[in-house]
Amino acid sequence: MSEQGETGEAITILLVEDDAPTCWRLQDALVKAGYEVRSAGTLAEARSALAEAAPRVLLTDLRLPDGHGVELIREIRQRFPDTEIMVISALGDEESVISAITVGATGYLLKDAFPTDIATTVRDLVAGHSPISASIARFIVRRTQGAAQGSAEPSPGPALNTAKLTPREIDILWGIAKGFSYAEIASHLGLSRQTVPGHIKNIYRKLEVHTRSEAVFEAVQQGLIKL
């Protein structure tokens, strides 16, 4: 049972994780699900792996012996825009995950997730479904509230620009944060069940800060910088 992309060849995954047992565990689960997995323990190894070919999916830990995973995510985002990126996290805390999202990651994978869940998550990701956890959704909507109240103090935690989110997208995030399923959210908001993942994908893209100039542009838009 080999997982295959649209073109038929096997789906390649680059797994960057410095803790060997965790790495084995994830690799086992993914290989068993039929993915072609290359693993790297450091940023340098990951970069040399990238020199060969672009992976379809990147799963990376953030704290690596020779640097931060965010650097790797940013690089891959620029070089291979089609690669789906996910963070591997022990706790799924917002602090690390949100900073990864702003450079182009889509959600996170818990290190202790059950093998079936790991495979399912990656499959959904490749299928274009971007998973978003309740705690991440909560963090984002709390941040939109803070921005709406115009609080002078910068909110704690990583920088996040929520200005581009539409009210509908914020409603969807609220639903996820409160634990509603996609179906429940869709029925509450009068949407089709199938459109919800697309909205979530949009949310991820809107939270991403692509370049330095864009960051400046958005800061101006938000009134953070006065020209």
Partner: protein, 636 residues
């Protein structure tokens, strides 16, 4: 021993007084000498070339030769005034310009006739007749009146008592020669007093305003009243007898003693002492003169003025000198020295005038006390204004200091506030740390210990995995509860749903999530992280029981808001379709311990836990409080 001790302080004190008073008194002696010299030097010089001093006086029917200056007896009748008749020589060929007759000083009024024609009558000029002013008079002699050779001059001297009449040397000569002397005297004895009086009136207004704005400093008011009196006295011309307005005259007569008493009062107040009640006696002479003037006609008020008023002025000046001397001894400051010297000058002038009046020394009857007094008042007024301005400056600098001090205090306050805030933050942090420690100890610690224990006993696989997973789950719960959820418990339940679903999925148990009311649970602004932890742990326990012990296939979580009439409250129910258990509650089994834990956690949050279990399943109903308790009710 004690006597010495008692006497000891008085001796240096006396020595101090002497050491301060003697130089002061010596200074005053110098000032007296200087004043006398000044009066002598400043005596205006008259053109002696044109003096006419040989006169024959016809008085009371008798005629005798006299030499001017001459005093006549005092009289109270204007009829038959003393008539001085003299002669002067006029050479028409010498006379380039017109001739004048110049009278430097007379008392009280004169009528001058040349060759039988009246050329001057001072009675028409009320100010000229005031005995306290030394007004000179000059009159042109029409050229047609003058005869080549000897001419006759007649001076009628009108006197109203009680003072003696006085006629100074008469000068007749070319106007050009006489006028400078006249101008000098006019400047000294007419213009200068007017200038001083005008000055006084301005100061009176300023001081009155000061007093009006600062009622608790009567010193300004007293001085203002004294000045107003002086101004009135100077500018209101006294009626010339036999004019009938004697009341006005009486008021004007009363002004001098009243003024002098006011000045003493000013002195006492100025140096910061209390005005003694018996001091009011000083005003009695002025009052008596005033009342008598109102009741009786002249000349009684004038006699009274001479008897009562003039000595009162002297006494007042003397008292003032004493007051200033005391002030000098006590304060040794510029103000007391200055005022003391001024008082000495005025006192000297007063003595000089008295000597003139009583003809103890030869004199030309020039009265200088009024002039010196006016000068003193002006000096005092100017000094007071200066002091006021200086006080304003001090207020300004004080305000500046105050601003600086307030800023300093503000800084200190800010610093201490920051310190306080820092302390409060530290305390809050310590609290939070304690709570976190307890939460970690309650969950994670125990689970890690059990992992260690399991590993040591050689257990493998599932049990250790479960324990480790439980530890991770608890760690996530603790971290999750740290997040600010703004009082919305639904946000915490959202994450919990994910974790519970993940936990149930390997067991093929479906989690049925039902939110019965659209908004879920009511908002609780008072919700704290530790409330969230307790509630989520209760729910975890319920789900774990369903998985481990009840072998349920379905777990349903129902969230709803109820309103029993006393406001809305939330209810969370966890129902499973397992085989149930007997809720004995006092067993030692793991289930029983879990149940006890759930109840105590619910109690700490002020929630009510209902548990029912039978063969068809178990139902845990957690009824949330309307308001979560602020402190941990059941303690750690």
């Amino acid at each position: 021993m004690s006597e010495i001790a008692a006497k000891a302080p008085t001796r240096p004190r006396r020595r101090l007084i002497v050491s301060r008073l003697v130089p002061y008194l010596l200074l005053q002696v110098l000032i007296v000498i200087a004043t006398i010299l000044g009066l002598r030097l400043l005596q205006p010089s008259d053109p002696d070339d044109f003096a006419v001093s040989g006169f024959s006086l016809r008085e009371d029917g008798a005629t005798r030769p006299v030499t001017l200056p001459h005093f006549t007896s005092s009289r109270y009748s204007l009829g038959d005034p003393p008539l001085y008749t003299g002669a002067f020589t006029f050479r028409r060929d010498q006379a380039a310009s017109g001739w004048s007759v110049f009278l430097p000083r007379f008392s009280n009024a004169v009528e001058v006739a040349v060759n039988g024609v009246v050329v001057l009558d001072s009675r028409r000029d009320a100010n000229a007749n005031r005995p306290d002013r030394n007004t000179p008079q000059i009159a042109m002699i029409p050229a047609s009146l003058l005869r080549d050779g000897s001419n006759e001059i007649m001076v009628r001297l009108f006197v109203w008592g009680p003072l003696k009449g006085f006629l100074d040397t008469v000068y007749v000569g070319p106007d050009a020669a006489l006028r400078p002397a006249f101008e000098t005297r006019t400047l000294l004895f007419v213009t200068l007093p007017v200038v001083f009086s005008a000055w006084q009136s301005i100061l009176a207004v300023i001081l009155a305003i000061m007093w009006l704005m600062r009622r608790r400093e009567p010193v300004y008011g007293v001085l203002a009243v004294a000045m107003v009196l002086g101004v009135v006295q100077a500018f209101v011309p006294p009626p010339v007898p036999p004019a009938p307005t004697s009341r006005l005259a009486a008021v004007l007569l009363a002004s001098a003693p009243t003024e002098s008493a006011l000045i003493v009062m000013f002195g006492v107040l100025f140096f910061g002492w209390r005005w003694p009640r018996y001091g009011t006696l000083l005003f009695a002479p002025g009052l008596i003169v005033f009342v008598v003037g109102l009741i009786a006609g002249p000349p009684l008020p004038r006699i009274l003025f001479l008897v009562l008023g003039i000595p009162t002025v002297g006494i007042s000046l003397f008292l003032m000198a004493c007051v200033t001397a005391t002030a000098v001894v006590r304060r040794q400051d510029a103000a007391s020295f200055t005022i003391g010297c001024a008082v000495t000058i005025v006192l000297t002038c007063w003595v000089h005038d008295m000597l003139s009046v009583f003809e103890i020394v030869t004199n030309e009857r020039i009265f200088v006390s009024r002039l010196s007094y006016s000068a003193m008042l002006v000096a005092i007024g100017a000094g007071l204004t200066w002091r006021f301005a200086r006080a304003l400056n001090q207020v300004d600098s004080f305000a500046g200091q105050l601003v600086a001090r307030v800023r300093e205090a503000e800084e200190r306050l800010k610093a201490s506030f920051a310190r306080e805030e820092e302390r409060a933050r530290a305390a809050a942090l310590a609290n939070e740390r304690t709570r976190l420690m307890r939460d970690l100890h309650d969950g994670l610690g125990g689970q890690l210990v059990s992992i260690v224990a399991l590993s040591e006993r050689g257990h493998e696989g599932a049990t250790i995995t479960d324990a480790a997973r439980a530890a991770l789950k608890d760690l996530r719960l603790v971290i999750d509860s740290m997040d600010d959820i703004g009082g919305d418990l639904m946000l915490a339940l959202g994450s919990w749903r994910e974790r519970a679903t993940a936990q149930l999925r390997p067991h093929d148990i479906a989690l049925d999530w039902r939110v019965a009311t659209p908004q879920g649970l009511p908002l609780h602004p008072e919700l704290r992280p530790w409330h969230v932890i307790q509630i989520v742990r209760i729910l975890d326990e319920a789900v774990t029981n369903a998985v481990k012990h009840a072998q349920a296939r379905n777990v349903a979580v129902t969230i709803e808001t109820l309103d029993g009439g006393q406001g809305p409250y939330g209810v969370i129910s966890v129902t499973d379709d397992g085989r149930g258990f007997v809720p004995s509650g006092n067993g030692a089994s793991q289930t029983a311990r879990g149940l006890r834990n759930m109840r105590s956690r619910a109690a700490r949050c002020g929630a009510v836990l209902d548990l029912s279990s039978d063969a068809s399943g178990t139902r845990v109903r957690l009824q949330l409080p309307q308001v979560f308790p602020d402190s941990d009710a059941a303690g750690g």
